[in-house]
Subunit: 488 residues, 2 copies
């Protein structure tokens, strides 16, 4: 049927090809361990397999599907592979994939309540459900003064939170050169990017010291910086505290930082992108200490560790006024009775883009398929595996372990007792490259106190104790082999 | 299998439930006309059908799927309905839905080349293909000095283009209070939103006059404003020209505006969100006159009229330097050999978010399934139907037609000869409400020269001549009925 003018895929064709693709995905997920974790390709390899131009005439689904295997798959790094331990997990799950499929099949637009009542109201409901599951304040619910919204990422959430903070500081439509934002060297780079986009200059992005052991932001230094800025006539606008930093899952003391913010009227944004969802487990609720009392905005990503396909980053604000005021512009062509009534949420006013997919479906399906019990079990599995892995490193004389591992991330480094600092750095980088080049597992790295440190982030739904055990053994073997080579 | 601890959906369950859902979507698309176009619900109706809290225990797929029908569907406004004529189309198509499904099934992350080589390279290839199909300059290809990238929306594209413009003007890390941005009253509100986010103050968002007949931006007035700003020490930073405004698909004279920009060193951003894709048809390439010579950035949305599910907005820049310089921040945990080599594109540096879905798949599948020939046919069908509809309004004594309708949008208003201006406005609003409340079709409105004007945007793949004919008759009938009621 393809190759003809105005050649839309019929419902019957969609039925057939859709089922082919569902089978393909089921086979892929069942056989994912047959692939190297990281794509073994070099720059340009995939491009070289593709024609220079789009086809003039349509092609059959079978040809397209065959090219997925031939052209695309060699260039896929398998984030759902059970031996993917790099960065942070980007969980996918059956119910979330089906939620994305339904969203695409409906092809609805949720920019306004009017254009997608179910898009809007289901989103409000699922973010309220999630707030409750995480033990976050009831006042953050969308039926209170605050409210939650699904963003594409914690980066975008940081940006809109910053714009809301600027609004509260009276600087949305004003000179921002006096505005200051406070981060630590451990804060995610997205906050610096948001500040840059919003016109906060680099000198005004203040770096608060961290405790050298915990890598947590020091409230006394924040107080010092803010007080000096106030005295100098600056406008302290936002502090970004992190619960679970990207480098090491360090936890800033939100309550003590919040106390400083509260005293000086500074907006407190809490970036719990990776770790926040862990609070589905009551025994991990302590990570949010201080957030309920002090956070003006709080973000966590179900698309990292809570089984919901990217993109699904949930941002809550304690008061939605400044956010909506800052981001709302209403041209004639978007006016409608529901908006005018003030009875509805128009989520376009909570984000940078105007249009929006029906992303709430996937989070709804995940929460219903798993239920709170199984979501907790998923988090607990990751924490327990990380704990066990940490134990193996702790007991091993050739590795140094970072003792802080409350979540699924374990940081360690080989000791290379015979090598200078510089040679040890090179050797650690070589170890990482050798492991990742093998295709058997995939780790990433960070730098702690001037030393390259390896990160193993556990959390893919497919990862079992055996995968972690095999990874540990493999790291040990490659380390010993490299050490032997260097001694030779 | 649900309701148990750590209860992931197995590959076999996914196979079964995925096929159920594919059947459901095929049935939905085949029977879409059985639904009212606009959801007949009131604020709170959908929320009221949902429980207060997430379930404690997992539920079966059958229960979830049943609730899609029971809870969600009544609140869906059917953007893919053939009688959806509101706003602009948000095309979905079989191949694009399958592209979204595959993207979700792979669960890959394309933030860096390293984390998704195929994500990155397929994206570069498909945006290059599209540039060629639209007759855009070869220098905008990703293998030239420029490059293309998929953004979630033209709003986000406007924001990153503005940040690139600020970079080129030396104002990314500097005081922006002198920076000025130029729009017209017809420019999409997303540009004002981008300016607000980036710290351009309202007085510095200059409104260039439009020609009262064409509603196109006046180059002479732009020249006047820019020259005055330069003389006053301001920093003219960006002009946003539009090809196909949201209100009426007006076309700004890009070449003449670009000449002004070029003389004063101002960044020219071209917003062709809706209409740009029409240039797949050679006979419509004229709409881009001047863009090749003068545009620094150009955006068009395959997710509107080119059969590719939202989100898929393609932004090209003539020089990628300022964009990447402005948005790149490289923390240790994202460093990798491929990035360090400079041989690859890391698309995180082309956008606000860090993470990104594999959106190129859906655009690739659309271009391959349809081929250039059928993409052209799709656009031509919309243009021809709009032309025919415009003819019916032109010949009808009770309606005034806006004679400008080069794309799929037709703007008209009832004349209400017996009514005062104010009563006519009320009557037009009543007509719109009555039509939309019927559920049989869905239009939206704008305001032209102080008069409420109705918009019929044709472009859904399912829309045929018969749907347009029925819509016209229905509008005529409701108009006559309302007129009779008012006379009574």
């Amino acid at each position: 049927m393809s190759g003809q003018a105005d050649d839309h895929m019929s419902a019957e064709q969609f039925r057939a090809h859709g089922k082919q693709l569902v089978d393909w995905i089921a086979d892929y997920l069942a056989g994912i361990e047959s692939h190297p974790v990281r794509a073994p390709v070099r720059p340009g390899d995939i491009r070289a397999r593709l024609p220079e131009s789009a086809p003039e005439h349509g092609e059959s689904w079978d040809r397209i599907q065959a090219d997925v295997d031939r052209v695309i798959m060699p260039g896929i790094t398998h984030w759902q592979h059970p031996s993917f331990f790099a960065y942070f997990p980007a969980n996918a799950s059956g119910p979330a994939i089906l939620g994305e499929l339904l969203s695409a099949g409906l092809g609805a637009q949720g920019m306004l309540w009017e254009t997608g009542p179910a898009c809007t109201e289901l989103e409000s409901v699922v973010v309220d459900w999630l707030a409750e599951l995480l033990g976050l304040p009831a006042t953050w619910r969308t039926d209170g003064p605050g409210g939650g919204v699904i963003q594409d990422s914690a980066s975008s959430a940081a940006l809109v939170a910053l714009v809301a903070a600027l609004r509260r500081a009276g600087r949305v439509d004003a000179d921002r050169t006096a505005c200051t934002v406070y981060v630590s060297a451990q804060t995610h780079s997205s906050m610096a990017k948001a500040a840059r986009i919003a016109g906060i200059t680099t000198p005004n992005l203040r770096t608060v010291d961290v405790d050298p052991d915990t890598l947590a932001m020091r409230p006394d230094h924040l107080e010092e910086l803010v007080a000096a800025d106030v005295a100098a006539g600056s406008v302290p606008t936002m502090v970004c505290a992190t619960i679970g930093t990207t480098s090491t899952t360090a936890i800033d003391p939100v309550g003590a930082l919040g106390e400083v913010c509260s005293r000086h009227g500074v907006w407190l944004h809490v970036d719990a992108a990776y770790a926040g969802v862990a609070a589905v487990c009551p025994e991990l609720r302590w990570i949010n200490d201080g957030a309920a009392e002090y956070a003006d905005s709080y973000v966590t990503d179900p698309h990292k560790w809570l089984l919901t396909n990217f993109d699904c980053s949930v941002l809550w604000v304690a008061d939605r006024g400044p956010l909506v005021d800052a981001l709302s512009i209403l041209p004639e062509y978007l006016r409608n009775p529901a908006t005018a009534s003030g009875e509805v949420i128009d989520y376009r006013d909570w984000q940078v883009p105007l249009g929006r997919r029906f992303r709430a479906l996937k989070l709804w399906m995940v929460m219903r398929w798993y239920g709170a019990t199984s979501l907790r079990e998923h988090i607990r599995t990751g924490v327990a595996l990380a704990d066990e892995l940490a134990g193996w490193f702790r007991e091993h004389e050739d590795f140094a372990l970072l003792e802080h591992h409350p979540f699924g991330l374990v940081c360690f480094r080989p000791l290379w007792p015979a090598l200078s600092h510089r040679d040890a750095e090179t050797a650690t980088a070589a170890l990482l490259a050798r492991l990742n080049d093998s295709g058997d597992l995939y780790l990433s790295h960070t730098n702690i106190g001037g030393r390259t440190t390896l990160r193993i982030a556990i959390g893919a739904p497919a990862t079992t104790r055996e995968h972690v055990r095999v990874a540990f053994r493999r790291i040990e073997q490659e380390y010993l082999a490299l050490r032997e080579e260097q001694a030779a």
